[in-house]
């Protein structure tokens, strides 16, 4: 979620039960600002919180002008060297974040657009999805370089708008049903939760520009998903 709208975003994402305490919120706001200044990022996202045994990691990501360029990830927390495992905890942390990002970081359709020169930009005229669109999985894209786009048939591609539809949509995610879409607050908020990486919550208020995702969890994939559906 965007650092600029952190407080509102946390409110909206609170349906999953995990949030931030007021002192954390205050400190995050300040530190995200500083990160933005120091690293000269265009946008700083608060990615989420990974719960650890002793302490938690707070993760932030910085985006440059081109939204799809590889993001820099920053973390804050006490690294704990677990005695059994040889790998450094930091490496493990980074790999978990990358896995989660690749798998389940999502964005509504129309929030970014691609210019013919290559870079993607934030779409300033994105007014939000309509209610009917918000309930469909096809209105959300993975926030990463497209993988499946080339495999589409020509017929499907003909309906796409290349300036908007340049990322994979969630429709074809495997296993099917690994996303839960719900309306909360009496239809005023659509919340997507990933069942594959429990703890990832994406929220969007239809007809507004508010959207974002946050991950709060232990950083473990739910390998039992096929049994649970």
């Amino acid at each position: 979620m965007d650092a600029d709208s952190l407080l509102l975003s946390l409110e909206l994402a609170s349906g999953s039960g995990q949030g931030l305490s007021p002192d954390r919120r205050a400190s995050l706001l300040t530190s995200l600002m500083l990160v933005k200044r120091d690293y000269r990022y265009d946008r700083v996202l608060f990615w989420g919180r990974i719960l650890g045994l002793v302490a938690d990691y707070y993760i932030a990501q910085g985006l440059s002008e081109d939204q799809l360029a590889p993001r820099k990830t920053l973390y804050r927390g006490a690294p704990l060297l677990s005695p059994q495992v040889q790998i450094k905890e930091e490496t493990r942390l980074v790999s978990v974040i990358e896995q989660i990002d690749k798998a389940v970081a999502i964005i509504p359709r129309g929030a970014l657009f691609k210019t013919p020169f290559g870079p993607t930009h934030v779409n300033r005229t994105f007014e939000g999805l309509s209610l009917s669109e918000a309930k469909k999985l096809s209105s959300y894209f993975h926030f990463r370089e497209p993988v499946e786009l080339k495999n589409k048939t020509l017929l499907e591609k003909a309906d796409l708008d290349p300036s908007l539809d340049f990322m994979d949509s969630l429709e074809h995610d495997i296993p099917k049903g690994s996303w839960s879409i719900q309306m909360e607050r009496g239809n005023a908020l659509v919340v997507l939760r990933s069942l594959l990486w429990p703890g990832l919550t994406f929220y969007h208020a239809p007809h507004t520009k508010n959207y974002g995702y946050i991950y709060v969890g232990t950083g473990e994939k739910n390998m039992d998903l096929p049994f649970m559906l």
Partner: protein
């Protein structure tokens, strides 16, 4: 243009681009022309509804006359102005011809008038480099002018290339799309000049409505330009595409309809209505004062806002307005049901909807009425079955051949716990969202708990969904939900040491089967444990719910203890087949066991403690988080504590879930010397037997004749 390859190359890639530049050209020069045409008031915009219906065509026909009249004046001026341009005449065709038609939007016109002069000045300052020549190769009929328009627009602007002389105005080319309009047109205008004809062609082409919708390119451009002029964005060029898209969208979603409700928003409004009902206090105005007094007294509704505040300090919980709504919903529940105490247990997330769970205790005596109804139904069923068994046995005894009785006996059903004890100590109500009615969950049976331990399924959010699993779960989602709630409560409801204490009256421990005491009460002398101590040691927290035994109950019941009915039946049956059935008594940790005694999960501590705020320990709250059931939290501060669960409702296991294997294939009945399975007779054998029997009948009629033959035939089997 390099990033367009993934999509099929459209043959019309170039021309639409040209079209747009042509359109832009027309825009700019139209404005120019208008200023020159010495009548700024003639500059009018085409109202969007101009071309909607067939009658519109005829109007256009008549108006083109005016066009013709105006054209010559403007034409010359244009030529002088745009020297290098080859096509000035085209640009001048449009202004002011639709004079008599009313506008849909007066204000637009006025604003536009004021601004055109500014624009003209800018244009005149030599931005003619922006103008591009029209493509000589353009021959494509407009397939989807609106769709292609915005895709490739930016290319054109960036290129700035000059193109050769344009032969576009060949009327023959223009003819294709606008055949509709032409009959009228040609009937009224005797002999237009070729240039005028070209202009009209171009215009007619622009006015041609797109195949997909009622919108024509002309109207769309008008809308777009008006929008730009009204809004005056900072860098209109870069936002041109988005504006175009927005204009298109708005065309199809006019916000003019105040009579009909927006169908999309209906569910939202309905939900809002329901939640509004929550906020209305029951009772009228005059009774308001009395109500105030009543409400100030004790209510069973807990102080959810306070709990939410403390949990928020810990970083857990729902947002504050959500909590408030839950509070109101619980208040509603308390009004509807005879409730003695109640507590917000937590939220269980589901795939389609989530559950809000309230843990309640009914007042004495209230609950039993409902329970009896349920029990009668089940008991009636059991009585029926008993009768069935007895009748079956009698029939069997009468039969000549006694069918061997199966050795297998179904395992005895473990009776469920009584209400208000063990796992059924509390009643649970669920609802999906505050404002929706609360549903009561049935009591949990030990079989359900045992099965719930073997499966792992997501909740869908609908209570009557069947739970499809192996081993088959005895119940639907409501039962599964109740079983999980029972397990979570038993494992994660904790309180600071000393908050609860055992009752002063102690029963004989042996009577209860050594299971320990199962009741506790609040300790009035509890002074609170300092927060730092709570965080340091797990021994300062205790479980205050009973542990559920492997059997599925909190108090152990020997399944072999037979009731009187069963003993009577047994006397009739053989007792030899019982087999080894000694069952050991199951024992679990007693109530009020400290958390330090909890088993580890593969080297992982089962609980994690945290101070809510490390920067100000004197005011912070101790938080305990369960690692075994992710989502279970408890906080304690001073004399207050509370538990909550917000999560998916599943246990954490470091290993993957291994579903139970199906049962082994059953053995066939063993063949022994006394029982041999015979092979079925073939058709020939049956026929031979039949023939033999007939002959036997025939032979007995003859009495003693042919005895030898009978014997011989009977041995043919």
């Amino acid at each position: 243009m390099g990033d367009l390859p993934p999509y099929p190359e459209r043959p019309a890639q170039q021309p639409p681009g040209r079209k747009t530049s042509q359109a832009s050209q027309r825009r700019h020069s139209r404005d120019q022309a208008q200023a020159l045409g010495a009548d700024p008031e003639e500059r009018q915009q085409i109202p969007p509804d101009a071309q909607r219906n067939a009658p519109g065509w005829s109007q256009r026909g008549s108006l083109s006359q005016q066009e013709n009249l105006l054209m010559p004046q403007v034409f010359q001026a244009e030529e002088a102005r745009l020297g290098g341009m080859e096509y000035p005449s085209v640009n001048t065709g449009f202004p002011s011809e639709f004079q008599p038609q009313p506008y849909s939007d007066e204000s637009r016109m006025q604003v536009a008038e004021l601004t055109t002069s500014l624009m003209l000045q800018r244009l005149q300052q030599g931005q003619s480099s922006l103008f591009q020549q029209l493509d000589p190769t353009f021959q494509e009929p407009p397939v989807n002018p609106l769709g292609q328009f915005n895709l490739y627009q930016t290319d054109q602007f960036s290129e700035g290339a000059q193109h050769g002389p344009y032969l576009r105005d060949d009327p023959a080319l223009q003819f294709l799309p606008s055949e509709l309009g032409f009959p009228h047109y040609s009937a009224q205008v005797p002999e237009p000049e070729p240039l005028e004809l070209a202009v009209q062609n171009a215009k007619a082409y622009l006015l041609h409505t797109s195949i997909n919708c009622d919108l024509s390119l002309y109207e769309h451009l008008v809308n777009l330009l008006t929008k730009i002029l009204n809004q005056r964005p900072e860098d209109p060029l870069s936002v041109l595409e988005s504006l175009n898209r927005t204009t298109q969208w708005e065309w199809f979603h006019p916000k003019l309809d105040t009579l009909r409700d927006d169908p999309e928003m209906q569910p939202t409004y309905k939900m809002a209505e329901k939640q509004k009902a929550l906020f209305i206090r029951s009772g009228g105005g005059t009774e308001g004062e009395q109500e105030m007094e009543e409400e100030v007294g004790e209510t069973p509704v807990p102080n959810i806002m306070e709990t939410a505040f403390y949990f928020e300090q810990a970083g857990v919980g729902l947002s504050s307005d959500e909590s408030f709504r839950i509070f109101l919903a619980m208040k509603q529940l308390v009004e509807q049901q005879p409730i003695h105490t109640c507590r917000f247990w937590g939220k269980i997330l589901g795939i389609k909807r989530s559950y809000l769970v309230a843990e309640v205790e009914f007042r004495e005596g209230e609950e039993e009425a409902e329970e009896e109804e349920v029990e009668e139904m089940t008991e009636g069923g059991e009585v029926m079955e008993a009768h069935g068994e007895e009748e079956g046995e009698e029939d069997e005894e009468k039969a000549v051949d006694i069918v061997p009785k199966p050795v297998w006996r179904p395992p005895p059903v473990i009776p469920k716990e009584e209400s208000r004890s063990g796992a059924n100590k509390y009643l649970y109500f669920v609802c999906n969202e505050p404002g929706l009615p609360w549903t009561r969950l049935p009591h949990v049976t030990p079989a359900q708990i045992v099965n719930a331990r073997k499966i792992k399924k997501f909740f869908t959010g609908y209570l009557d969904t069947p739970v499809v699993s192996y081993p088959p779960f005895p119940g639907n989602e409501a039962n599964y939900l109740r079983a999980q709630i029972a397990r979570i409560s038993a494992a994660t409801q904790v309180s600071p040491l000393g908050f609860y204490q055992f009752n002063e009256e102690e029963g004989d421990e042996e009577e209860e089967g050594g299971a320990g005491r199962d009741s506790y009460e609040e300790n009035p002398d509890f002074e609170g444990i300092p927060v730092l101590e709570l965080v340091d040691s797990m021994a300062n927290w205790v479980h205050h719910t009973q542990h559920i035994l492997p059997q599925g109950r909190c108090t152990w019941v020997n399944p072999l203890q037979k009731t009187e009915e069963e003993e009577d039946l047994e006397e009739e049956e053989e007792k030899a087949d019982e087999g080894p059935e000694e069952v050991e008594q199951e024992v679990g940790p007693p109530l009020l066991t400290p958390l330090s005694e909890d088993a580890e999960i593969m080297h992982l501590a089962p609980w994690t403690t945290r101070l809510s705020c490390s920067l100000c320990p004197q005011y912070s709250v101790a938080v305990v988080r369960s690692n075994l059931w992710p989502g279970a939290y408890a906080y304690a501060s001073g004399k207050k504590f509370e538990n909550i669960y917000i999560g998916w409702g599943h246990k954490y296991s470091p290993e993957s879930f291994n579903p139970a294997l199906p049962a082994p294939i059953q053995q066939e009945y063993p063949s022994g010397p006394e029982i041999v399975e015979m092979s079925d007779p073939t058709v020939e054998e049956e026929q031979a037997l039949k023939a033999a029997q007939e002959q036997a009948l025939g032979a007995t009629e003859e009495e003693e004749e042919g005895e030898e033959e009978e014997e011989g035939e009977e041995t043919d089997d």
